[in-house]
């Protein structure tokens, strides 16, 4: 038997569940999970890895779209797939009967419970417009290679 240098796999999951705080953390009022939302952004926007919080700059606007976007369904808790911690929303993200006439190509997932609306991830897709239709973002396969959020 030999020792192996590694980032413990469970630690990756625990990060996703907010169980560690190497720096200053926040006072949590409960042990319940946070609420997350998804906001759409114009193709001309500049969302990306440098985002720290939800930002309305460059967010889409149109009929039946509310600033800040829609709720993300988090029915399945983060888990391990091999040594990769993974999380995928348990349902598609749906914007019902919207008209979004200006091309958009990105969605920001952010923590709606946190006071500052902490950013989680940005996902891009082919540029779209929607006219009085339902815009649906379907989720990838929930595994180590495809899950929406992966810490390998």
């Amino acid at each position: 038997m030999a020792n192996t240098q590694a980032l413990c796999s469970q630690f990756k999951v625990d990060i996703l569940n907010g169980l560690h705080a190497f720096g200053a953390s926040v006072v949590r009022g409960a042990t319940t999970k946070d609420a997350y939302k998804a906001a759409l952004y114009l193709a001309s926007a500049s969302r990306g890895a440098s985002d720290t919080v939800y930002n309305s700059t460059g967010e889409v606007s149109g009929t039946n779209y509310s600033a800040g976007g829609v709720a993300v369904t988090t029915g399945t808790a983060p888990t391990l797939s091999g040594t990769t911690a993974i999380f995928t929303p348990s349902a598609s993200i749906v914007f019902t009967t919207v008209t979004l006439s200006t091309a958009f190509d990105a969605v920001l997932i952010y923590n709606d419970t946190s006071a500052t609306k902490l950013a989680v991830s940005v996902h891009t897709f082919g540029s779209q417009t929607v006219t009085a239709g339902t815009f649906t973002l379907t989720m990838p396969t929930h595994d180590a290679s495809n899950a929406l959020i992966r810490i390998a």
Partner: protein, 88 residues
């Protein structure tokens, strides 16, 4: 009635009556459907009589006005790599 009997009967008609029958046949040939279930009866009859084929009905032109559209897009995931550093 056999075909030959029919032709014999027609040829025995007076000219005026024969012309009337010919006009009726011409009209029938014009109206015969070009339906696969009947074979190329209409096309053949019209060709024999020198009747041009009827023009097909014009196709409906799609409405160019944008209509309600539902759009579905598949998301792809993002990955962060966790690594443990070596000690000095």
């Amino acid at each position: 009635m056999e075909r030959q009997q029919l032709l014999d009967a027609l040829s025995a008609l007076p000219d005026e009556a024969f012309a009337h029958v010919a006009a009726v046949c011409h009209d029938i040939a014009r109206r015969l459907p070009d339906d696969p279930a009947f074979g190329p009866v209409g096309v053949g009859a019209r060709a024999c009589l020198g009747i041009p084929e009827p023009k097909p009905a014009p196709q409906a032109v799609p409405d160019a006005t944008p209509t309600a559209n539902d759009v579905t897009v598949g998301l792809t995931g993002v990955e962060g790599n966790g690594e443990a550093g070596g000690l000095g």
